[in-house]
Symmetry: D3
Subunit: 331 residues, 6 copies
């Protein structure tokens, strides 16, 4: 029986320059749709899971197009709500070599930020669900979005669903009057798997430790339901060349994955979401170390695929983990 | 000596689908930058005038790209201010045949809407200027934008500059708490040339007359500085086929231009702005009837050019007026 | 409650030349996926119906991509089977003016032609379904496909579902040893709404009548369950310019729709499928004449949309029927 | 046995703007290769003739690419010479509606203009050849090119080959010190089929007659070997809409072809060359009136095909002449 | 005097995704035409040889387009036969980094597979020919294709032509009832130069040796006419980064070429065919070691060129062998 | 106060193949406009300087488009003259890996080569200017262009403006009858900053020294006003991978910059111009070593940007110098 996963979060249209052009050179943009949580949903759908994404879109042609995009890649869109508002956007100036890539966000006042979820029947949403995933972006958008997250988490807890949270602290969000420390701890309290780096620990959990393992231990002390804390370590040699390794603290120790060398990157956006999707799949199917290796290999494959979401299959991830068919031509 | 024109208004990025695709089919957008007033500025620059466009852009790469776009087409961008905010956008689903084209606006909270113009030295802006053009879109955006328009109009009056106003009433603007009748009459009072149709008369000047000429006469009674009132009459046989004629009331009578048949339209956006730019040029250089014919022919040529702005030259417009080289191959 | 429709048939990848290039000039193709029956399913999904398409695809990346395409446009793909075989293809040399467009079919031995449907639970497929649509293309492909059609029709009859059949006789199919007269009459016997022209009557029903109404009457005599017979009448002035009218015999008389003039055609492929989808929707919601007008207007809008399938909404069709917003710019 | 035709003339790279963009908007060009004579060679190759094009190209990658282009479309390139010099170019700003299309020529000092043909063995070139075609563009380019034309004509006469000449007078050529009346009459003296309009008669043959038939008669008096004089009559309603008719004086009378209405033109460049290629084929295979109809129908089809050359087959031309399959969808 | 080479084999249309998209993301394909033997023919034509490719195409527009493609790149297409059938296709999902590239073949029942060659006058085909090249793909397609190969080989032997064979064993071919060991040995018996790796030795020649040199010696024992056996050794670090070296057994020893590092691969398809074309050219012009170096350098350059075939010139290959101009900018 | 820089030189349209295609494969070109001196002007405009480029363009649409291009990227085009002539062109076959890139120049007889500058008021051009930059390409084009350079240099000297000269010796220019040693020394005599490598020293200054520092010292002896001599040292591992270091002789010693590794090059054209622009900016704002580092880092960033000119900002260059944000994703 395939696993069933629910994700919650805003989805933006991404408008990216072509052929490494700068914004001032662009006479057109390529478009995809993505968001930290929807990217996880799409990736899990490629893994054969049943993915349900919950969000709100503007009831206009852009909202419908975003929905069609999710549906195309296998995500269940039955619980998406259409309402007043705009579609969040982000503009991407893709880069190469030493030049940094740039994102210009234009996501304020999206339909999702005003989504109160009153019409959502969480009981129906979570029916038969194995896993719920949220990120720190949602409660950073608006009070309504923070409330919605809490509602979802309570409903998930009632159903005994595993919850993962990508803390994902971003300073330039959190504009609605509250700070992360006023909001995030309560939400984290409902979560079992955390994606968190040092800045996340500090800003969202008030934990300042030099050592990552110490921070993890402290986190579990403060939030005893936490079972796993994870992060990727990315070394950015250039926009075209990164190295990547995954870390997973499982309550006992820090596991480390293979380090992958990634020259000739096609698209690094969503690499973290691909990792998390891989980890969700991995923890649902494998032991801890294998889960971590699966997550890291999934993230590596994402870097070879244009767009925000990982479109690799379970087979492709496993094959890479075994070091087979690497970059081969499969006939 | 070339004429010098100032325009004031917001500039948006236009994102349009390609090859008549619907929004749900699009995997990319073509982009140009435009706005009712900037389109006039670009067109007049092609006519050899010195065009100055006054606006505010976000101080990010999108704002700089929009500035570069205006500069490319010959518009003086020295008085553009860069500040906090976002770039207004609109999405265009281009069409053909009986299917209607669609615009999804996403222009609220643009940097321009928050532009207070305090740093602008209108005296310097208007130095040596012959003509100032504004539209009803600006005061519809925000109180600040309405105030800015009034400041500009007062400064223009002090310099004895001719002022044109495209009333351009749009119901879905005017969201900041004031209605057009509270704002527009005071602004129209400073304007000598008006683009206005029946809906504009009613909504912005409280003039309801069955007959266009009666409405014009009443307008002049209410706003005695008005010298010309103009409009285009467009018959929309299909998205690909329109007919166009210009009307000009010159205080004495309604002049009518040649009616042009326009099958095989390439891009109808900005047809009205091209007309107005042609009229500005025409009234500065020709008699009333010739000015009107120039304006209409200019607008026709616009329909053959992709993008928001008319890129035809004075020679091309005059040649079309004479019925020469129509659709020929010039070697 | 939205109507529920099932369609059955092969889906091909369409590879079309760009910018009116000939095949010999092409260095690339645009691709969409379509088929006479799936086009109907997609169009009905845009109308808000629940569309289920039943087909078989090769269990390779092309089959998965075709599935994703259907899902994107709102079609339920739960009953699609993946198996050995190839994906049917057709190459389209798009044209303009007096030059004819050309299709090179490459559809033999598709996975669908070998689809025996043994694993299909028709009871589940037809659960709560209002309408079933098949075409004469399917039984022309292979004995297996003909048998499958008969199975489906029997199951539909058991459920009391309305059945429509687009006879769609094509000489260059029917290569598997049987002729249409050996196969089609038995299938038509289960169908209530027929799309048929004179060639269809003759080749698939052995009815030769000079007059269309006479043919319809004879058809009903031979196949008494028939309630409606319909066809479109297309006048082809050029590849870019057609005229279109719909005819509907309702057992009493021939109703005729408005004749639409269609210059500037964007894509005429699937115009008939769009008509039939419109008719299905129309007969489920309106009186006969309105249903016919809806069908014809839907087909007209299809001609403005690239790809095989009609992506117009019910509102857009109704608006065209009223003659409103024709080719307008909707802001 | 297929007919064998030799053409002589310069071939340019054509760089054209896309999507009706103006030059100032273009960020890229589409390229094809063409020239008045090579266009004839390509068209005749599609008709199944053996076409040999004689020219000189620069011995660089652009010259080789131009050769590959001719070869792709079936032209024998064995007698093309590679030497010092540049490839002639022309830039095309494609248009629509009332806006005129524009060509910027950049063809001076091409390798062909410096081609003295000394190494050419005309005896081998003309072996088994039925027809030789040249145009007035060649002798207008340089003294060398004029001499080359004369050499070719003498060799053709020795072989008893039919010769056609497209006079094609263009004022902005003829820059090398001689005028057309000093050069053209001697060359015309070797030609049996002439493409000539009034301006050609006047500028190249010193014949000024109000009436076309009178001019033809006078031409035959002055150049008694002339058997046919022909021209197309194009009415330019817009860049997107022309009407076309062919005229053929056969020594006795002026034959006129069907007039074709051509809205939705795809590419009008080379329409005259397509006509002439059709006439060559027609006069080699049919009676005079049929030849003329073939030529006109061929030219009409050219207008639906992007690029300089007509890629229609004999079957397609004959089908159009019969009014069959006009704009149909051939499956 | 240029060398004359004949190649025999099927040619497919290749449809490849763009910008590293996965199949499910593609809205279009780039197309080229290629096949293991035709790729050799094209490459040798760039080297200045006279290449003749013998194949059968469907007598439709796709077959004509494939022919035009070969002709464009200098291949003599005079002996290509047009007949019933379809054009073989293959779909390529291009990749980067660790992700494997994928090919979906769709080549069964091609016109070539049914090509019996009865109408071919091998005497005319092989007139003046220096070299004949075939591959193990052809006899794997059908009995007719195997028979055709044998006919060709006998004719070549009669003329004393050097024969090369790329064994190229592929398990998923050989579907017509015979296995390679029933067919290949007889064909190999006519060949002097073999491209073979261990899997080829085992599957097509029944030779199982751990050591490559031993296998070569055994092959020569079994097939005494063999003079050279060759293979490339490719190390696949990623889809974007391979290393390549050539091996050549000349009856005495295994020669090894320089090993080339190939990061930033543009297109690896056809790398082996480029190597073989280089070897044919090399053995016809140089000593063994130089021939091998030429072959390897040719293959390296192929990896920088999009499409199936190597378009590098002899000069470019020689320059790379000398280590000159590597990646330079030649003005 | 922003620095003001004048550059003088020809500007060409660059036509480049896409996706690493060879010329023979191209069906279109991407276009930008560039020239050694204009590239410097554009780069300095991105740095916030006031850049004035002096050149002559043909008074046709291509000349106007080139002007618009410069203006778009912030260059003052007020002193550009429009006159008879053609626009210089160059065709670029972009490459990857070991394959060399190729440029086919087609720049002779450009409008600029015939530009006598008589109408230029150098006093006005140089008003308030800090720096003047010329290159050895200009005097190599024509006598007129050499004279123009001298006029400019004299005027610059009168104003006390710093002068830089990129010697840039190219053998295939200098076709007008004079050699570089007859022309260049007189021009170099007015210049304070020289870009020169060994070939430049020898061909343009008659200085042959094995050691670069010795050559610099000798140059200063011969041309005592010289203050700085500079060059970049590029190691070309492949077309996709170079290493780069800058050298600056400041009259006392040779300073060397950091060596940058540059795999994954996007566009190496204009790398030298970007270096020089960086050096101009650097010498105007920083100490010698910092200026050199700024120049080298600027050049590195250029290699990541498509087109001829560097579009990096001062901030981006400084950030790279600090090793910050290298290839990061800036949100």
């Amino acid at each position: 029986m395939n696993k069933k996963i629910v994700t919650l979060g805003d989805v933006m249209m991404r408008l990216s320059t072509k052929n490494k052009e700068r914004f001032s050179q662009a006479s057109g943009f390529d478009i995809v749709y993505g968001g930290a949580e929807a990217n996880v949903a799409i990736s899990l759908a490629q893994f054969g899971c049943e993915s349900i994404h919950v969000t709100a879109f503007p009831s206009n042609d852009l909202g419908y197009a975003a929905t069609a995009y999710l549906r195309k890649f296998g995500v269940n869109t039955d619980f998406i709500q259409f309402q007043e508002g705009r579609l969040g956007l982000y503009f991407l100036e893709d880069s190469a070599m030493q030049r940094a890539s740039k994102i210009v966000y234009d996501r304020y006042d999206s339909a999702f930020a005003a989504f109160d979820g009153k019409l959502l029947d969480w009981d129906m949403v979570f029916d038969g669900v194995d896993w719920f995933h949220w990120t720190g972006i949602t409660p950073a958008l608006s009070q309504k979005a923070a409330d919605l997250t809490l509602d979802a988490l309570k409903a998930a807890q009632d159903k005994g669903i595993i919850v993962s949270a990508d803390i994902n602290y971003r300073r330039n969000l959190w504009q609605y009057g509250k700070g992360p420390l006023e909001v995030m701890p309560e939400l984290i309290r409902y979560s079992h798997v955390l994606v968190a780096g040092s800045s996340d620990f500090e800003n969202c959990m008030d934990i300042v430790e030099d050592d990552y393992e110490d921070a993890c231990r402290q986190a579990q002390k403060d939030f005893p339901q936490i079972k796993y804390i994870t992060k990727t370590k990315r070394e950015s040699i250039s926009a075209s060349h990164n190295k990547l390794r995954g870390h997973l603290w499982n309550g006992k120790e820090i596991l480390k994955s293979t380090t992958y060398d990634m020259p000739n990157i096609v698209d690094r956006i969503g690499g973290g979401d691909a990792f998390l999707a891989g980890l969700v799949y991995g923890l649902l199917h494998y032991d801890d170390q294998t889960a971590l290796e699966f997550a890291t290999a999934a993230s590596v494959l994402k870097h070879s695929i244009p767009g925000d979401a990982n479109l690799a299959s379970v087979d492709e991830v496993l094959t890479l983990m075994k070091g087979e068919n690497v970059g081969k031509l499969l006939r």
